[in-house]
Amino acid sequence: MEAHVVGPWRAALIAVEHHWTWYRRNWRATVISNFLQPVLFLLAMGVGFGSQVRQGEATGGHPYLVYLAPALLVITAAQNAMFESTWAVFSSFKWQRTYLAMVSTPITPAQVLHGQLLWIALRLASGTAVFLAVAAALGAITSPWALLAVPFATLAGMAFSAPVVAFAATREKPDSFNAVFRFVLMPMTLFTGAFFPLDQLPGWIHPLAWLTPVWHGIELTRGATFGTLGPLPALGHVAYLSALVALGVVLGRRYFHRRLAV
């Protein structure tokens, strides 16, 4: 019999408040990886490398910086999601044991998960919004529709985050996170059309790329920014990404319950 002293939503928000209380004091530590890194990346690749690129068909007729910026938003969301969904979650189970503390209150394991995911979503949304502002200041954003890129990138980031959080909840050691980083996140950022069109790669890679949330996210952000996105494909991408989030939540609830329920 589960206690219902606080409502399910309220409980998840209390878990979010926990993260916020920590973050308010420690946000400086995240500035470099969440903000400075993507901006420097945009400068080096967009401006520096972009100066070498022939503007043409491959970049949709746009300057390389403009072509790269919306995709980089999705990459940033996925990169930020990586740490928050692996080591941070693992640490809350194993090292700091904050989750165990939470479930000793009326908050249930599922609510702990919801709070964690909600928190990650907030981080991704704020991180991408700030990055978008800087990109706009650098002249990388040309269309007001790019504002849509923030929710799209956040959704894509969460489609990666939610299943990874569920995975992290099953781990007894943090060793496999390096493998996730190198064999999932890295290829996902390099080979899913962010830096160059996917059709430049051999055909057998394409179906693999279509499976990744980053590819769908990039299709959405770029389509919105350049106005090439049809309503039906948009719906398809959003549906696929939402399905990944849902899958992560379902699995995560199971694993969180298994690990935290008394």
Binding site: G48, V53, A58, D175, F183, Q200
Partner: protein
């Protein structure tokens, strides 16, 4: 004073290994036992359990090479290399080689050293044996080099397979990589001894990332305005990249010796500072 402490801890001074002659005469007793190799052996034994993470480090530059060389390469016709315009893959591959030597060395030297030093207390255990801080510094540096050397050799082999090597000078790229890795590992180790907590690793990140992105890795120096070119030319990774690019394309001049000297000085300063700091932190 360090000597007193260490001799008190180790009442029976162990006879140093033969052949460690000169170094022993300069280094005060208790700092160096001439047995750095056992620390390498320890690292090897530890890494056998986590071999996956060692092996996977090899894939990172490989992915980058595929992506940048073969994807981005099609967006760019040719880039100004050492001896005129070259295909983009030829341009970017040696730079990635240099960058991976830097990354590997810096992260091994800072993260692992800090963890062993602060949390695992590995070195406190090591110092309870006849080994001294100089053994630790040398042993850890040697291990960084072995690991870095393996990655570099693998990367060079891949470059050769893809026809990105244009000259027999490339044979020297491997020792050059080792020198670069040594210099970065030494400076990284010295830096790690100043770290207070994990938060300081953001500062390492803050140094390594701009180096990686802006040291002419992905585009030639001529992209920058004049004053910025001068700044870039002072940074270490720029010299590493110039060296590798020259060696793999076969455009080697006397300037290469300048790059080598840069890293020799960097390595020397790093080792001296690291050994001193480790001695001070561990023995007092």
């Amino acid at each position: 004073m360090t000597n007193e402490t260490s001799t008190a801890d180790a009442p029976t001074p162990v006879r140093p290994r033969d052949g460690a002659g000169l170094l022993l005469r300069i280094v005060p007793p208790g700092l160096y036992a001439g047995r750095a190799h056992v620390l390498v052996e320890r690292s090897y034994l530890v890494s056998r359990r986590g071999w996956m993470s060692v092996l996977s480090g090899f894939f990172e530059p490989l992915f980058f090479l595929f992506s940048l060389g073969y994807g981005l390469g099609r967006l760019v016709a040719t880039v100004d290399g050492p001896g005129g315009p070259v295909p983009y893959a030829v341009f970017v591959a040696p730079a990635l080689l240099a960058a991976s030597a830097m990354n590997g060395a810096v992260f091994e030297a800072t993260f692992n050293l800090f963890f062993k030093f602060k949390y695992a207390k590995t070195y406190d255990a090591v110092l309870a044996t006849p080994l001294g801080p100089v053994d630790i510094a040398l042993g850890e540096a040697a291990w960084c080099l072995i690991r870095g050397g393996l990655y570099s050799a693998g990367f060079l082999a891949v470059m050769l397979g893809f026809g990105l090597i244009g000259s027999p000078w490339a044979l020297l790229a491997l020792p050059a990589c080792l020198l670069v890795a040594l210099a970065f590992a030494a400076v990284g180790m010295a830096a790690a001894t100043f770290m207070r907590s994990w938060h300081d690793f953001d500062l390492v990140q803050l140094a390594v990332m701009p180096l990686f992105l802006f040291s002419t890795t992905f585009y030639p120096l001529s992209v920058y305005p004049g004053w910025l070119q001068a700044v870039v030319q002072w940074t270490p990774l720029y010299h590493a990249i110039e060296l590798m690019r020259g060696l793999t394309t076969g455009h080697v001049g006397w300037g290469a010796l300048g790059h080598v000297a840069y890293f020799a000085v960097m390595a020397l300063v790093g080792v001296v500072v690291a050994a001193r700091r480790l001695g001070k932190l561990l023995l007092t």
